[in-house]
Symmetry: C2
DNA sequence: CGGGCTCTTGACTCAGCTCAAGATTTGTGG
DNA sequence: CCACAAATCTTGAGCTGAGTCAAGAGCCCG
């Protein structure tokens, strides 16, 4: 309604409303990838966008769920706290990832913007209605949950049994697997989070993370590439250090 | 077919075939709880039972999934290994729990019988067909996966940030929440797993677990009750030590 | 170009690990 | 039912990888 001018009239209404999805850079990476054009348009009609600035809290643990979201851009940290303030980051979300539980009325973790974050929000109740109506959507969200669980199990092995060196190597392998960009032959990963976020993700202290990164630099496995990025000259070697049962 | 005698004839056939489910002690705790009588009977027709002895390997990590199962009785440990043998237990399964991924062709962990285990097995392909046909079954399995994920996230906080005392207290709180039996006023938990399994679940060594259990005994929070059980005289106190954001 | 971040490095400490006895429990066969 | 061997569990003593505390180096932003 709002944006329709007299000149363009109703004819332009539908194209305009669908265009946000049409140009969405993460559509193929998000659950929207399984939707048909008409389903996408229905979902689009019930979505809204919102931006969060770095450090801004997006949701609190145990908060009642009203909205869930796709991450359009930016990095989010998901974390749990102990009463005395000790923090464990349980995962990071990047563009295309889904934020929020579909089968629960509460969030299991806090969520905070690490960088500037753009979200595409949906009312949980309305998305659930669509999930009930579209089995392929439910299946896709089930698959997302399964992938998240698998990653959590791998991380339990890291947190329970790996040494500091292995943990830091695993961290860069995880980034390589999830958000690497290949410029030329070099593999480069963006590291938007602070040393202390990395520490809270790996169950270490900031100082230990810093020491291990220095060590990997001296070994030539990590090269600073600008302020918040590293190139990884030898990912297989990193994987070996990470103690991986992961593929070569 | 096999068990039908001339005297009883076909009339007894259906009752006999359904009776295994009818007397199943974990039916209401398992995904079977969401099935109607006729659905249950269909599923029953494609199920088979199998027993594993203590220490027996049930599935290997990355093994192709052929069968999935409900745990009828006993305790199973799910675990991951590093190449040098370090072990992390990612969870235990008890009666009524579901074993196996539904949306993946591979197991994410090893599974080994801790005690004698009875399983009710299903062919994964055939159960998936039923899941496609019965949305309430898929929903239930999705809910199970969500609950497993929530527990994994709680455990990541434990593995990454809790002290040895907090971990051992958390272990007994977990048992109290999942498998406690109330005889009289006392809360009693069965502890079928070895000290070294507890250690591998908590990211500690056997010796540290043993010392912490001794310490909790001296504090009067843990009383041996037979060979493989403890009574927990003060669960709220244990919960406080566990550093819980869990409910009182 | 200076004040406040984040990050790095060093020196020392300590929680939990390792190594090593013993003590209990469990399982087995006579 | 008991004896005895094999596990499992407990406890002690000393060690060490990662944490703590503290200082200094970069870096960013106004």
């Amino acid at each position: 309604m709002g944006g329709v001018t007299a000149e363009t009239g109703c004819l332009r209404l539908t194209p305009i409303r669908a265009s946000r999805c049409a140009v969405c850079g993460v559509r193929e990476a998000s659950f929207c990838a399984v939707l048909s054009a008409s389903e996408l348009q229905q979902l689009h009609a019930m979505s809204s966008q919102k931006v969060f600035e770095p450090g801004e809290l997006i949701v609190e643990e145990d908060a009642a769920v009203r909205q869930v979201a796709n991450v359009l851009s930016g990095t989010i940290k998901l974390f749990k706290l102990l009463p005395d303030g000790r923090q464990q980051i349980t995962g990071f979300l990047f563009g295309g990832d889904f934020l929020g539980p579909m089968l629960s009325g509460e969030y299991a973790t806090f969520a905070e913007a690490v960088t500037r974050v753009e979200l595409c929000l949906f009312d949980q109740d309305r998305l659930r209605e669509q999930m009930d109506a579209w089995p392929h959507l439910e299946r896709r969200l089930f698959e997302d949950a399964t992938a998240t669980l698998d990653r959590a199990l791998d991380w339990m092995l890291l947190l329970g049994r790996k040494t500091a060196t292995e943990r830091v190597a695993s961290f860069f392998v995880m980034l390589a697997d999830r958000v690497a960009s290949r410029d030329d032959v070099q593999l480069t990963v963006d590291v938007p989070m602070s040393r202390s976020d990395i520490a809270d993700y790996l169950g270490l202290t900031m100082e230990t993370v810093s020491r291990q990164i220095s060590h990997l630099k001296r070994q030539g496995l990590l090269e600073p590439s600008g302020a918040h990025a590293f190139t990884l000259p030898d990912v297989p070697a990193l994987r070996r250090i990470a103690g991986g049962n992961e593929p070569n």
